[in-house]
Amino acid sequence: MSIAITSAIELHRVSRVYGSFAALRNVSLTVPAGASVVVVGENGAGKSTLLRLLAGLVSPSYGTVTLFGGAAREQVDRLAYMSHETMLYDELTGVENLRYFAALQGVRAERVEEALHSVGLDPAIPRRVGEYSQGMRQRASLARVLLTQPDLLLLDEPFSNLDVASARHMVELLQAYVAGRNGDGLPRTLLLTTHQHELARPLAEMTLTLQAGQVVSLEGAGVTH
């Protein structure tokens, strides 16, 4: 008998402690596959820690994190994470950076141009990432995470540094991606943190509010905590 795995993310009583500071406290959460969750909260509420835990970049001090029924570290080929920083080499151009990551991940070369075009960047730009404007850096960073067409997208403050028009374009792009409208038609799971809740509203199928490392509210269907 086979059991279908319907939840993309499962956190069971997860805490993450740095020294004497608890960045996350006893968080339990289940997010179904294909859901789109916006995480909000003040600075230091634990949003970034939550995303880094899900990406497998930090381990929980207590509790368990499960992605698609397995350990987070075992799902690296199914997820992509975008942080506050570009996670790109300043000395390489956008296309060179993406070609490098595409080669490592066995992604076909044409995907590089597709990913850059999808975020509104011209692959022919000869400038290095270090010479990009903040908005261009943000878009190049998004292009990197879209390269592999991951099942789970973890985006930390993707709209910061973007003007309103660019941010709206990014929201539309993410909406289409989550719904599976660009690519192979498969719905994807999205979890993003933001301070610009209004901007992210079209993506907020569910809204998770964190405060001092704890979940204080969860609005929307399908998600439990």
């Binding site: 990406a55 497998g56 970049l57 690296v76 992509a80 920083e85 996670m87 490592l104 991940q105």
Partner: protein, 226 residues
């Protein structure tokens, strides 16, 4: 993607980054040339050719060891900037391929410095090796690999420490002592022609095999430590 292609992808990227910035090579070249000139003024090696032959091996390797420190720290600093290292951790490719690619890149950088340094060294110290000179073609790559393989590994290990520039030499020097002894003795034996350097070359080779294996096996743990 197979392991070899992953290594080559990392190597190509590191060479490309260095080609654009020249941070590592310029720093190493400047430092080693400074050491060569300063010591040649301090010791006047042309007046004492025998002493020059006896100390040159040590001088050469110590200069390269100190110079390599700057390159080794620099090579990981690029990965830490913009949190690229986090992206590397999330790539579904063998972590050790990143290490091997970087160690090979560092080997190329230090070797490039040696190519410039060797003739300058020979001129300033008026060196005429009395042993089998061709053995230097074995000793130099083996010795350089011993420096860069451990240096690359321990530079990665000290990435998350607060004073990583200080931490690297503190950890690397003691562990490099057997290799350093092998490089210096083998080079001195070739220059003076007094003893056979074969034993020291074997020691260097064994050191390289043991530490390369250990570093490759342990790198995944180092990279993915919280």
């Amino acid at each position: 993607m197979n392991y070899f292609r992953c290594v080559m992808t990392h190597l190509r990227k590191d060479l490309q980054l260095e080609w654009r910035t020249k941070d590592a090579i310029n720093g190493m070249l400047f430092f080693t040339l400074l050491v060569v000139v300063v010591f040649s003024l301090a010791f006047d090696p042309t007046a004492y050719p025998t002493i020059a032959r006896q100390i040159s091996g040590g001088l050469l390797w110590v200069a390269l060891l100190f110079a390599a420190m700057t390159a080794l720290n620099q090579s990981w600093a690029r990965e830490v900037r913009n949190s690229v290292l986090d992206a590397q951790r999330l790539v579904a490719a063998p972590a050790s391929a990143l290490f091997v690619g970087k160690a090979l890149a560092n080997l190329i950088f230090v070797s490039a410095v040696e190519v410039v340094l060797a003739p300058v060294f020979a001129i300033f110290y008026n060196l005429h090796p009395l042993g089998q000179t061709w053995l230097l073609l074995l000793i130099l790559p083996l010795g350089t690999w011993a420096l860069v393989v451990n240096g690359t590994f321990f530079a990665a290990l000290s990435l998350r420490t607060r004073s990583r520039e200080l931490m690297l030499p503190l950890v690397l020097f003691p562990i490099s002592m057997p290799a350093l002894l092998g490089m210096i003795q083998a080079t001195t034996n070739v220059l003076t022609g007094d003893l056979e350097p074969t034993l020291w070359i074997k020691v260097l080779f064994a050191y390289d095999v043991v530490f390369t294996t250990a570093c490759v096996l342990l790198f995944d743990t180092i990279l993915n430590t919280d």
